[in-house]
Amino acid sequence: MQRVRKVCWTLHREIGFLVVGLTIVYAVSGIAVNHAHHWDANYERVAEPLAIEPVGAGPTAEVEPLVLERLGLRRDQVKTTWRASPEVLQVFQESGGYEVNLVTGQAVHRLARPRPVLFDLNFMHLNNGKGPWTVVADVYAGLLIVLALTGPLLVRGRKGLAGRGGVMMGLGVVLPIIYAVVMRLAR
């Protein structure tokens, strides 16, 4: 048992150091995406109303250059445009664009900028890139399992599995089980 405990100590310590960075990535992003219904965890979105002199609902080929001119945009600043309806022209740019009512001149300038750092953390956490990161994420998950299995064996006595540690571990195991049962019954 002494030898097993020693191996556990070594594994727990070495893996513990190794996964610090990844754990912070997954934990911070976890909080962010848990609240996806409260905010956009990936993009900072801005919608600014503005008005231009109306150009009228004429043919797209005629009104489009006028709209760009009145918005102060050069052609090379625009990806493309789309006549969404007889009254509305959408102008698309790299990180946003405009929605212009041709008849009233009312417009909305929309921007969607990736949130610094958080965008990248969420990209890794949600594995949006797939491919190589899938391997990293799988290995990390495996290492977390090793940490979970070796942790309870590190301490002996009252603070270990036979005492307070065991109670704490029991709580951590029972909590998700209770939640799963309640959710199934509620369905």
């Binding site: 996806a36 007889p86 698309f92 664009g97 190589p132 990161w133």
Partner: protein, 164 residues
């Protein structure tokens, strides 16, 4: 020995990062692939598809158009512009499996998937009509809705976006 063990663990993680994967493969400087990409050889014109939508239900097809709308919450759908002004087609993908970013707006997108019809019940039909009326600033009268609506969408398996 312990240091060696740590190195082995660290290199396992790094090796993962170096492995080639099945993720978005950029086949060109300005192309970005989502999901399984596209494989079908013929592209169906959006206007032709929407003119006779029932004909294509259940078939795997490929469509092309400018991305003019994108799901702001989960990036789980995009609207593609038709070759007819004002007409759009929705490409819906499984949440989390493919994520369309806001930057896709304005890009020329080729998408592939199964053309799907969703027959709505009366309650949902009225909700959709009310939302559309609200969006276009028109008055909505629920009593005027007398028949159920069928909506169509491409249940997408992959797409390729080209920067304009």
């Amino acid at each position: 020995m312990r240091f060696l063990a740590s190195l082995v663990l660290a290199s396992t993680l790094l090796a993962g990062a170096a492995l080639a994967g099945d993720g978005p493969a950029l086949t060109g400087k300005s192309l970005k692939t989502y999901g399984k990409g596209v494989a079908a050889s013929d592209t169906v014109r959006v206007s032709a598809l929407l003119a006779n939508p029932d004909k294509w239900v259940g078939k795997t097809i490929r469509v092309q158009g400018k991305a003019v709308g994108v799901c702001e919450h989960r990036g789980c759908w995009i609207n593609l512009a038709s070759d007819v002004e004002g007409q759009t087609l929705r490409v819906k993908v499984t949440d989390g499996e493919i994520v369309f970013p806001p930057e896709i707006l304005g890009d020329m997108v080729t998408a592939e998937g199964v053309w799907t019809a969703n027959k709505l019940d009366m309650e949902t039909t009225k909700m959709v009509c009310e939302a559309e009326a609200k969006k276009s600033g028109k008055k909505f009268n629920a009593d005027e809705v007398t028949s159920c609506m069928t909506t169509y969408q491409l249940t997408g398996t992959g797409a390729v976006a080209a920067k304009n």
